[in-house]
């Protein structure tokens, strides 16, 4: 799994504008963060790589229905904060309800998971993502 993720990251680097690859990276996170077979995902604003549902997740229109919330804005409604929230900026991690983030910085992909917050949400990351725990 770790190897696959590395390959995906490498491919993302090689084809940085390829949104489908970024989507696959998100899919691997959703798989790790949710026990649902097809988790329901809510994105708080338009994000190209998460604009369509796939076989591994379903996009929903409200936080209430969602298993996972992808945060792209600076603020997130309180109703969403109880969900498994995944950020798209490093500063999103300053919010205690954000369990992890995937973001681009200096042209490089960055993945961070906050261990304490995962524990609270009773989430155990697979071996492949352990390296990204903080």
């Amino acid at each position: 799994m770790k190897n696959i993720l590395l390959i995906l990251l490498s491919c993302t680097l090689a084809f940085a504008d390829d949104v489908s690859l970024e989507k696959k990276i998100y899919e691997s996170f959703f798989d790790a963060l949710s026990t649902e077979k097809t988790p329901k995902v809510y994105v708080d604003s338009k994000k190209e790589s998460l604009s369509l549902s796939s076989n591994t997740f379903t996009l929903v229109n409200s936080c209430k229905e969602a298993d996972i919330v992808v945060m792209t804005q600076s603020d997130l409604p309180e109703v969403c904060q109880s969900k498994i929230v995944f950020g798209t900026r490093y500063h999103h991690l300053k919010n205690d309800f954000v369990v992890g983030a995937f973001f681009w910085q200096k042209g490089r992909p960055n993945i961070v998971f906050i261990e304490d917050r995962l524990i609270v949400k009773k989430i155990t990351l697979p071996e492949s993502l352990q390296d990204y725990l903080e």
């Binding site: 490498s10 680097l13 910085q105 042209g107 992909p109 960055n110 993945i111 961070v112």
Partner: protein, 632 residues
């Protein structure tokens, strides 16, 4: 075959050469790309050297201001970090996209200590984990030397420089600089026109070479085709000359082969049948010859076999095998089967001739010797024993030379009205003059050239003589042609083309036909004779009363005149049987309204007798000998 192989070598050479040139052109382009890389590397190195020096200074500054353990100091003091960051920012310019200092935590992870980046989303915060994508950081940490890596997959970035901060022989931190892509783009843009020139030149050269290569292949294919006779699939005359331009003729024995009576096959069975015969014969020859022998269709029904010169007996055996194989079984045509034979002349010493034409003449002599001796045979011509010595005949070469050198000329013998003894007409007689200016009778040279193209030329020359004579003199003229001449399309066409627009001249001409087997092909002969008569030319049957010339001809062919054979006229006054025959022929001629001529009248008694028997005209030494300048 050798020639094809030789051409194959040239072809193979070009086959190698063209791709090599293509590869060379591509190599030039690749070399340019390498040079470009080197130029970029030089620019990069120069840029890195400068930065390296600045980073050395910066680390010295940090050590001076915050002590040797400045990494720990900066970790603890935010103000100092801000101050150090401001100083670090001084190094940022258009070349540098990002510059940052990373420390190594206890778990050997890299974390931001300082980052000069202003954009919030791009700036790494203090303690934030840095995720390296390249081994450059690990390498720099381990080697304690500056490492550089190209950032091919990252937009805006060109290269990343990892500068290790080594304290107490241990890498404590890493200074990172991400160089802007702008510099690289600028270098590339400077080199772009040159790159395009190289690229377009390489592409152009490659396309041109490819095109030339394709053209070459097409050329060689066509060239090969141009050497093949389409009917028989054998090499043609063009190939022969190409071959001889490369190989001396003395490398081969020359075997010249000519199908017997092929013209009759075409005339009687048609050209399609003739084509079948030719291709079948070619295949039969090919099935007998060896790989090293070269078979060429020289033209018409003539083939040449070039046999690698070794033993004359081998060549002779081969020739005999070919001859036997051709006649072994008849050739099947649509409606019948045809027995075909071939005559051959072998020249085993072509090197003794000055050129191939000379060698061919010798083979030609052998061939016609074979024809003379009854056909279906192989003859070796010995230039030391001439036909003249053997049979009193002139050689083909001599006759060809005579034709070329205008040594052929005409004589005229008058034909008299027996009753008035006035000249009625003249018989044109062809003669040849030899090197010693002796006059050669046609019996000495016509048999040699019979069935050859030389004969056709001589016959045309006779027609030319007749035309010029008729134009100059107001007389009637007789010329002698073999009936076979009328079967020859080239001669017949020449005759018709010459006289069809000259009706007055045509009416003054009589063709005395010598008969041979062809005259028995009445239907065809009658057709050709009618064509001649249609344009006004009269036909006389020569040597009537002798041999094959019989009354049957008169039933089938429209004849204007009968020329009584010399055997009937000689001593006719003493020969009652001859008198009775001549009287009967004359009676027949009178009945059919045909004129008669007695030839070879040499005595007064003979003249009186033919006059008595009612013959209209006479000629012979008694009356007048042939004279060269009698008229012309």
């Amino acid at each position: 075959m050798r020639f094809i192989v030789n051409n194959g070598k040239v072809f193979t050479l070009l086959l190698i050469l063209f791709p090599l040139l293509g590869i060379s052109a591509s190599y030039l382009y690749v070399q340019y790309k390498e040079t470009k890389k080197e130029i970029v590397a030089i620019v990069q190195e120069s840029m890195l050297d400068k930065k390296h020096e600045l980073l050395d200074n910066y680390i010295n500054y940090l050590q001076n201001d915050y002590g040797k353990d400045f990494v720990e100091t900066l970790k603890k003091d935010e103000d100092k970090r801000k101050h150090a960051e401001q100083t670090l920012r001084l190094m940022q310019n258009s070349e540098v996209q990002y510059i940052y200092l990373l420390y190594i935590d206890k778990k050997q992870k890299l974390r931001y200590l300082l980052d000069t980046t202003k954009e919030v989303n791009e700036r790494g915060e203090f303690r934030q984990r840095f995720f390296p994508q390249k081994d450059v950081w690990k390498n720099a940490q381990k080697s304690k030397k500056t490492e550089v890596a190209a950032q091919d997959g990252i937009d805006k970035l060109w290269i990343t420089m990892a500068y290790p901060v080594v304290l107490n022989d241990k890498t404590q931190a890493l200074l990172g600089i991400d160089f802007s892509h702008k510099e690289y783009v600028a270098v590339k843009a400077t080199l772009l026109p040159l790159e395009r020139i190289y690229l377009y030149s390489t592409v152009f050269i490659t396309i041109m070479l490819f095109s030339a290569f394709v053209q070459l292949i097409i050329y060689y294919r066509h060239r090969k085709k141009s050497f093949i006779d389409p009917l028989t699939g054998m090499f043609n005359r063009q190939y022969l000359y190409e071959l001889l331009s490369r190989y001396p003729v003395d490398k081969f024995h020359v075997l010249l082969m000519d199908l017997d009576h092929f013209k009759q096959v075409n005339d009687i069975y048609g050209h399609d049948a003739g084509d079948i015969v030719l291709s079948t014969v070619a295949q039969r020859i090919r099935s007998v010859i060896r790989k090293q022998d070269i078979l060429i269709r020289f033209g018409g029904e003539e083939f040449i076999l070039l046999i690698p010169a070794k033993d004359i007996n081998i060549s002779m055996d081969l020739a005999q095998r070919i001859r036997k194989h051709i006649k072994a079984s008849p050739i099947s045509l649509e409606k019948c089967e045809l027995n075909v034979t071939i005559s051959m002349g072998l020249n085993p010493l072509p090197g003794e001739s000055k050129d191939f034409d000379g060698a061919m003449k010798i083979a030609d002599e052998g061939l016609y010797k074979a024809k003379q001796m009854g056909r279906d045979r192989v003859e070796i011509y010995d230039p030391n024993v001439t036909s003249k010595e053997e049979h009193g005949l002139e050689s083909l070469c001599t006759i060809k030379d005579a034709l070329e050198l205008e040594h052929l000329f005409c004589m005229y013998q008058p034909i008299f009205n027996v009753h008035t003894l006035e000249v009625h007409s003249y018989e044109l007689l062809i003669r040849m003059r030899d090197e010693e200016n002796n006059i050669i009778e046609p019996e000495k040279f016509l048999p040699v050239i019979f069935n050859t193209q030389v004969y056709v030329h001589v016959t045309k020359r006779v027609i030319d003589f007749a035309v010029s004579t008729l134009r100059e003199k107001e007389i009637d003229l007789n010329i002698n042609l073999d009936v076979q001449d009328l079967f020859n399309g080239e001669i017949l066409d020449y005759l018709l083309e010459t006289f069809e627009n000259e009706p007055q001249m045509a009416q003054k001409l009589t063709i005395e036909i010598y008969e041979n087997k062809e005259l028995l092909e009445y239907e065809l002969a009658a057709r050709y004779i009618k064509k001649v008569q249609d344009i006004g030319i009269k036909i006389a049957l020569n040597n009537f009363g002798k041999g094959l010339v019989n009354i049957d001809h008169l039933l089938n062919i429209e004849v204007n005149c009968l020329k009584l054979d010399a055997s009937l006229i000689h001593n006719i006054h003493q020969n009652e049987k001859a008198q009775k025959i001549v009287a009967s022929i004359q009676n027949l001629a009178d009945t059919m309204n045909i004129e008669s001529i007695a030839e070879h009248v040499e005595t007064k008694e003979e003249l009186e007798m033919v006059k008595h028997l009612g013959v209209t005209y006479a000629q012979g030494y008694l009356l007048a000998r042939p004279e060269e300048d009698f008229l012309c």
